[in-house]
Symmetry: C2
Subunit: 266 residues, 2 copies
């Protein structure tokens, strides 16, 4: 059971913290960002973790992309990511052609790209995000999320979500699950929340006597798993609960198929 | 009495909101950012307001710089700003040379540049901010602030401030009031808080029966003027209270003098 999850977005949007929160496991020591220096280019860092729950083992490969958005000139940010994604398709194609049985081919293809949008709250997406999403959404399942959503007041969240969805439409950005999802059973309900807002935390805080994941401010406590505070529980449900298999399947039936078709036609 | 304040920093960091909060006046209609489209270049937008309080009239010119940090390739972001600053020095120099009495020369020189840093909380500044501040701090009084500080928990604020000050030192970034301030009477006390954290709000919220500037979240109410929530009151004290005259004077005695010296030497 292998799931390959890429994360991208500017530094400091809480990507590493979010991953630790999602898998309820301190992955930080292995994928801790090297924050002391800005990267001159985007690095591709795949790290594989073995997570066992109820006797089921998941080989989770997290692909971090430190350096994205960091440079003064960000025009070369997309290539390393696109190259990595396509290279995994090439590997799979080569294995298929060498007559490997499908079940035996190790699947390193990126099953989902979690893309972190900054919580600016203004009524348009920024150039970097638009251009990247336009280019990448036809190559991989992209799930955009609004990072650090504790910086957005309730009315700002709904305005910002509307602005983002309007920009997705205008710029032809096809995000999962609206696009590509073949298992639509839970999609209608989940779609009410997209783009999902996320808040992440390495810490446990005391809320009404219970220790929960959250952030403690002088003016109050933010709870990661409180659906009134952010959409974390819905995103987790999608990623790990209902749609993980669909993300894996559609990577093969849609994105890999498209890539393979382009390669064959030459 | 003329004060010329420039603001810069990426879109969506709350610059316009902050200005409205600072001057307790809805300047928004005049300097509302055109958020629907990302600028291809940095624009320089000076707007002059007449603010009268206790019979004293202040001609406040706010110079907004929409487009800063917005583009994929941000290498040309600095030129429009540097050109504007130097052009005002040129204007003043020309007036001086035409034998105008100093008191009669209209002073359009930028007295302070309020630079907004994103609340990433990571332990380094980003390339754009470092390179811009390095270039600009020898030309104008720069006051860096940490924007949207309600995204930072108390311990994150102190770590981030330390990281920023360490980077200022490492990259030779000279910020006001530590550098350039000639009126040092209140500086020692204000320096305990730099870089100032700011939170801005157009709205009034009810806190213990009082209507105050703030942001209302589901988990609590943030108060702009509560020193436990951010350093807004200290920054306001510096800018409008104790050091406005010093910002004007040092622009003439330090930055203009430096520029004039370079022009004369040729
Ligand atoms: N306000 C806020 N801060 C967060 C959140 N998640 C993480 N942070 C903080 O943001 C900083 C950067 O987080 P990190 O996970 O390293 O970001 P990355 O560079 O995107 O991997 C850390 O100080 C985190 O504690 C969040 O949901 N809200
Ligand atoms: N979390 C937070 N949001 C803010 C703050 N100040 C403004 N905002 C919101 O951020 C968004 C952008 O603000 P704006 O002033 O237009 O940013 P500008 O592009 O830098 O001028 C608006 O939705 C504001 O309500 C703040 O201090 N904290």
């Amino acid at each position: 059971y292998a799931f390959n999850l890429m994360v991208a977005g500017e530094s400091g949007l809480g990507k590493t913290t979010f991953l630790n929160t999602l898998f309820n496991a301190p992955l930080t020591e292995k994928i801790a960002p090297q924050n002391l220096f800005a990267s001159k280019t985007v690095e591709i860092n795949p790290t594989t973790f073995e997570l066992t729950e109820d006797g089921v083992t998941l080989f989770l490969t997290v692909i971090d992309t430190p350096g994205f958005g960091d440079q003064l000139n960000r025009e070369t940010n997309f290539e390393p990511i696109i190259n990595y994604i396509e290279k995994q398709h090439d590997k799979y194609l080569a294995a298929e052609r060498s007559q490997e049985i499908r079940g035996n081919i190790p699947d390193t293809r990126v099953h989902a790209l979690l893309y972190f949008l900054p919580p600016t709250g203004i009524n348009r997406m920024n150039d970097l995000d638009v251009e990247f999403l336009q280019r990448i959404c036809s190559k991989v399942n992209v799930i955009p999320v609004i990072a650090k959503a504790d910086a957005l007041a309730p009315e700002e969240v709904s305005l910002y979500k509307k602005a983002i969805l309007r920009d997705f439409e205008q710029y032809d950005i096809r995000a999962y699950p609206t696009f590509h999802a073949e298992d639509r059973e839970f999609i209608a309900e989940l779609e009410q929340h997209i783009p999902f807002t996320v808040i992440g935390s390495d810490k446990l805080i005391n809320v009404n006597g219970k220790m929960v994941r959250g952030r403690s401010y002088r003016w109050g406590n933010v709870e990661v798993e409180n659906p009134l505070h952010c959409d974390f529980v819905h995103l987790r449900e999608l990623l790990i609960g209902t749609n993980m298999q669909d993300l894996i399947d559609t990577t093969h039936s849609i994105h890999y198929a498209t890539y393979r078709g382009q390669k064959i036609r030459g």
